[in-house]
Assembly symmetry: D2
Homo-oligomer: 113 residues x 4
């Protein structure tokens, strides 16, 4: 197989939680706020929730902005940065984050009737 010619997926979502390691403070809100500003400037669609941020878009763009987020936090003097991520790709249909939540809510609503 010609592995080199395999393309990355067109679209994906990545839900990530970035943690600055060794900052001397248990709070991470300052770094999280900085990352939100980076995401806003990227033009990609993103949603912050209490345990991370979900970014959607082209695979290369999504992982570029998460890489930039690591570099941004490093540039604030943080020597180590760790992210945990969930990444999903689908070929059967396009599904926005809102679609995913709505579908579950519709199933639950139908059962209530």
């Amino acid at each position: 197989m010609d592995y080199k010619s395999i393309q990355v997926p067109g679209a994906c979502y990545a839900d990530f939680c970035l943690i600055p390691v060794g900052t001397g403070s248990p709070s991470v809100s300052t770094e999280v706020a900085e990352v939100q500003k980076l995401l806003k400037a990227s033009g990609l669609k993103y949603t912050m929730h209490s345990a991370g941020t979900t970014v959607e878009g082209n695979w290369d763009e999504v992982f570029k902005v998460i890489g930039q987020a690591h570099t941004l936090v490093h540039s604030r003097g943080v020597a180590r940065v760790q992210s945990s991520m969930r990444v999903g790709t689908r070929t059967d249909k396009k599904q926005t984050p809102e679609d995913k939540v709505r579908k579950v809510e519709e199933i639950l609503a139908r059962e209530q009737q």
Copy 2:
């Protein structure tokens, strides 16, 4: 050290994404809906978002309900279930999911002024 006497943390949050493996369908919304009903019955505080569900509470109760979620999906004929989780504990202060989001939003709002 007397490791046996170490207690689990009182409070925690766990943000988890449960995936039924080998169901024959790329859709997971039916299983996710079932888990939401289990979480509602548990009485624990939980918030669903597009990439998972965040549950808060006493460590033992949180991991009991996630274990029950695995068993519930198994009981629907799914032989394998995989969850990815982010778990956090703090001793310096109590912080609800809403507090965490609000703190970041306040930092961003202050910078806009």
Copy 3:
């Protein structure tokens, strides 16, 4: 459905990476070493690798020891602890970590022939 009567799974594996947040040092090896001693004392089967530790056993025992790991790190003055985890359960067969690696290696070896 009687959700309260649902049991947690008998067996599971949890692969976890524990991060002390706010320690003032980018190194986590001291905390990781402490957790390895806790795991050894627990009697559960565990395997450390460069990106985490895989623990196997009864659901309640696995999540008790991970909870104890959080408490242990807190007891060393770390106010915030974050773990990322992958948790798997199966009902179709018992499979040790070694089985999983061996099965993939056998597939690869057969293809080499």
Copy 4:
């Protein structure tokens, strides 16, 4: 700030666990074997363990190969692919996976003396 000019980190490690969703079989070893062949062809350093695979290298290269892994599994007729990942970057020193494990083992060995 000129966010656009921010570079992604030079080096990183990503520990990932890729799950084909909806295949009709609880086994994932065939897909995992295919991904191992892709990783071998990439020339990047990688280590398989029972709960995932750790890849090291340049940020762009690491996330390109994980993207190719998703595409590769999709090309086998799997409509949905989900990966959970742990990603780390450091600016204070270069540390191989072997260094990380050795450092913990050295701490434990010293304490045994």
